[in-house]
Symmetry: C3
Subunit: 348 residues, 3 copies
C-alpha cells in the first residue's frame, strides 16, 4: 500500500513541509532510510542523519529548525515517536483485516463462530468451541473441544490449543505455541516405572495476554493454570501445570517455571530464568537473565544468579568470584608470612 | 458428562452417605470445591475443608468420622486418593474413545492403519508407515515414510514424526514435538564454511514413553537415537543425535543433551540441565535443575551446579560463595594484622 | 533401495574384492554392522572390527592388508571416510527427489512456484509469495504473504514462515521452526500495563543457512533480523528481533540471543548460551555451553561462564570455586594462628 504525505499528515494532524504528493510504502530508521520510506526524528542525537537520509518523509517536532537543507518531505507533529507508533499500529491493523473462512478447514458443527472472523485453511475447530467476534485464526491452527476464545484475539499459524482452554479478548498467540498440554505428573510405582497422573484441569489466558512462538503452557492437574490480564510471554517459555502468572508480568525467552509456582503482577524476568516448583514470587519482582530461583521472593525485590540472591549482593559477590585465583594466592602468601613470623617469634 | 453418586460408588465399590442422586461433571480440590464437582479427602490436615466445601460429592476413608455436619454427599472407600486417581483415569479414557478417519486427511495408499484408530483432519501418513490398533493421531500431525507406531499410542496435534521413526505401544507424544529431525552434524571446510554430514539414522521410542510439547529428538547419524521404555520427557527438551535415554528416566523441561551421550535408567533431571556430548550418565543419577554436566557420572550419584559436582559439596560450596565479599574482607583484615605484627616484631 | 557392490564401486571409482553381486540397503558403523549394510574402515584403531563385522560391504583404503580372513566384500577406495560421506549425500539426494503438488494444499493464485517443486499436503502458500526451482515444502508448512524462497531450499513439516520473510537458496529449515514471529517489544503505560510496539520488519535468511527444529527467529521492529550465509542453528534456539548472526556461525541447541545483538562470522556457541541485548560479538568467537554474555566480545576470543569471562581465567577460577569450603577453613585457621601470635607478642 502507498500513502501520500498529505494523507499521513491528515491522519496525524500534522503539517507538511515539502512535496505533499510524495508517497511511501514502508518505514525505516532515519540512519538507514531508503526512498519510498517514512522515518522519524525524536532524539536530537540523531539530528545529523536528517541531512543525509534517503527516506522520502520524516516526522519531526513542531519546533524543529533544520541547520542545513533537508531533502526529505517533513511532517511536523507534536510528538514524532508517538506519531510514528500510531502509524505502525495503523499498519498492523491492516493485517487484522483478514476475514472469512478459508477452505479446506474443519469446523465442528457444534462450534460457534463470531462476526468478521478469519479462519485459515487447514485450521481445526473442535466440538462446542467458540470464537468471539473479529478473532483471527491462521492456517493449521488446532483448537480442541470446549475452547472459548474472546473477541479480537489473533492466533498465528500452527498454534495448538488443547480441549477446555479459555482465552480472553485481545490476546495474541504466536505460531507453534502449545496451550493446555498435559502437566508433567507421574507417580512412581514400586518397580521403578511411573503411573501417569491424569491432568484434567485447563489453562486460562485472561485478556490482553501475548504468548510467544513455540511457548508451552501445561494444563492444571485440577483447576486451572492461569495467565493473568496483560501478561506477555516471549518465545520458547515453559509454564508448568498449576502455575499462575500475574497481571502485566513480562518474561523473556526460554524461561521455565516448574509446577504450582505463583508469580505476582508487574514482574520482569530476563531470558532463561528458572523457577523451582511450589514457590511464591511477589509483585514487581525483577529477575536477571539465567537466574535460578529456589526460594520465595518478596514483592519489589530484584534478584540475580543461580541460585538467585539480592541483585546488589550478587554483583558484589561476582566481583570477588572473578578474582578467586588472586584471592587464593593472597591467602597462600599470607600463610607463608604467618609461618615465618611464627618461627621468628619462636627463635626469640 | 454427568455422573451420579450412586454410579460412582458402584464403580469404586464404595458406599454412599447422603443424596445418591446428586450428580457431578467435574473434579475439584476440596479446598476450592464448587457445586457439581467431586473432591476427595485423604490427608487429615485437610479435614477442616470438608465442613465448608461446596463440592457435591467427597470421597472419604471408610472409617472417617465427621466432627461437624457435612453438606456434601460422602462416598466411603478404602483409599480416597487411589479411588480419585481411578476416576481421573476413567475420565481420561473417555478421551481415547475418539475414533475414525476425519476428512480431509492424507493417508498414503501403501500405509497400514490398525483397528479403532483415530486419524484427525489434516494429519498426514506417509509411504509404508503403520499405525497399530487403537492409535490416536490428532489433527495436523505429520508422520513421514516408513514410520511404525505401536498400539494405544496417542500423538497430539501437530507433532512431526520424520521418516523411519519407530514408536512403541502406549506412548504419548504431545503437540508440536519433533521426532527424527536431522542431527546437527557439519564438517568444517577449508574456507570456513560447513559441509552437512547426512544424518541417515532414525529415532526409536520404546513402549510407554511420554514426550512433551515442542520437545525435539534428532535422528542418529547412523543407527538410532533411542528413548527406552517408560522414559518421560517434559516440554521443550532437546535430545541430540546418537543419544540414548534409559528406562524410566524422567527429565523436566528445557533440558538439553548433546550428541552421543548415554543416560542410564531411573534417572531424574531437573529443568534446564545441560549434558555435554559423548558422556556416560549411570543409572539412578539425580541432577539438580540448571546443572551443567561435563563429565561422566557414576550410577546412584546426585549432582548439582554448573559445572556439576557432588550435591553435598555443591551446597557447601555455595554457602561460602554467597559470603565471598565477607571472606575477602576477612582476608584483607588479616593481611593488615599480619603486617602490623611484622613491623612490631621487627621493632623489637 | 538396494545397491550392488559392483554399482557402488563404479560410483566411487573403487575396486571390489569379494562378491560383486552382494547388495545393501543401509549403512552401519563397522562395530555394529548388520547383514545388508555397508560400513567403512578409516581409523586403524577400528581394524579389529573388520574381522567380525556382519556388514555385507566395507569400504577400505587402497592399501589395506587384512591380517585375518574377512567375510565382508571389500571396496577399495582412496579415502574411505570421504567415499562413505559421498554415498550418504547420494542417499540424501534421493530424498530431494520428492516432487509435485500434493492435494489438498493451498496455493494463493498470486503466488509463483518454480520447477520441480514439492509442495506437501496441507501446506499453505500466501499472496505474492515465490518458491524457487527445486524447493521442497513438506506437509503442513505455513508460508505467509510476500515470502521469497530460493532454489533447492527444503522446509520440513509444519515450519511457519511469517509474511515478508526472505529465504535464500540451499537452506534447510526443520520441522516446527518459526521464522518471522513478532519481536518482543512493549512500551510500559502509566498504569503498569503494556502497549504493543508493532513489529513491521522481517527476517532474512541468506543462502546455505540451516535452522533447527522448533527454533524461533523474530522479525525486526523495522528493517531485518538477518542470518548470514552458511550459518547453522540447532534446535530450540531463540533469535530476538533486530539481531544479526554472521556467516558460517554455528550455535548448539537452546541458545537465546536478546534483541539487537550482532554476532560475527565463524563463531561457535555451545548449548544453552545466553547473549544479552544490544551487544557486539566479534568474528571467530567461541562461547562455552551455558555461558551468559553481558558484554561485547572481541574477535577471536574464547569465553566461558555466567557471566562469561576469558576461557582460561574461567577454568582457573572454577578450580578455586570448587574448593571454597577448604579455602574458608584455611582462612579461619590462619585467623586463629594470627590471634595466637598477637597474644604471644603482647605477652613479651
Amino acid at each position: 500500500m502507498e500513502f501520500k504525505a498529505l494523507n499521513i499528515a491528515d491522519f496525524l494532524q500534522g503539517t507538511v513541509e515539502g512535496d505533499e504528493q510524495v508517497s511511501v510504502n514502508n518505514v525505516s530508521k532515519i540512519e538507514d532510510g531508503k526512498p519510498g520510506t517514512l522515518a522519524f526524528l525524536a532524539n536530537p542525537k540523531y539530528e545529523r542523519y536528517i541531512y543525509e537520509t534517503e527516506a522520502s518523509i520524516v516526522l519531526v517536532r513542531q519546533d524543529f529548525k533544520p541547520e542545513e537543507p533537508v531533502k526529505a518531505t517533513l511532517i511536523r507533529v507534536e510528538d514524532p515517536y508517538e506519531a510514528f507508533a500510531s502509524l505502525l499500529e495503523l499498519y498492523e491493523q491492516t493485517k487484522k483485516l483478514k476475514q472469512g473462512i478459508e477452505q479446506p478447514s474443519f469446523i465442528d458443527p457444534s462450534a460457534k463462530v463470531g462476526e468478521e472472523v478469519y479462519f485459515g485453511a487447514f485450521a481445526y475447530l473442535g466440538q462446542n468451541s467458540t470464537l468471539g467476534d473479529n478473532v483471527k485464526v491462521y492456517p493449521q491452527t488446532f483448537i480442541g473441544s470446549g475452547v472459548t476464545i474472546g473477541k479480537n484475539t489473533i492466533i498465528y499459524a500452527g498454534a495448538k490449543i488443547y480441549d477446555g482452554t479459555v482465552i480472553g479478548a485481545n490476546c495474541v498467540i504466536h505460531a507453534g505455541a502449545v496451550i493446555g498440554s498435559d502437566g508433567f505428573g507421574f507417580a512412581p510405582k514400586p518397580d521403578g516405572s511411573y503411573r501417569k497422573i491424569p491432568q484434567v484441569g485447563n489453562v486460562i489466558l485472561e485478556d490482553d495476554v501475548e504468548i510467544g512462538a513455540n511457548t508451552t503452557i501445561d494444563c492444571s492437574t485440577m483447576g486451572s493454570t492461569i495467565i493473568r490480564k496483560g501478561a506477555k510471554l516471549d518465545n520458547l517459555i515453559q509454564i508448568a501445570h498449576n502455575c499462575e502468572v500475574g497481571e502485566n508480568t513480562v518474561m523473556a525467552a526460554l524461561v521455565g517455571i516448574a509446577g504450582s509456582s505463583k508469580v505476582g503482577k508487574n514482574c520482569m524476568f530476563g531470558g532463561q530464568v528458572g523457577i523451582a516448583g511450589h514457590l511464591n514470587i511477589g509483585d514487581e519482582v525483577k529477575i536477571g537473565a539465567m537466574s535460578g530461583v529456589t526460594n520465595n521472593i518478596k514483592s519489589g525485590r530484584t534478584v540475580l544468579g543461580a541460585p538467585a540472591m539480592d541483585h546488589e549482593q550478587a554483583l558484589k559477590t561476582y566481583v570477588v568470584y572473578r578474582r578467586l585465583p588472586q584471592l587464593r594466592s593472597q591467602l597462600i602468601d599470607l600463610q607463608k608470612e604467618v609461618a615465618e613470623l611464627k618461627s621468628k617469634l619462636n627463635e626469640q
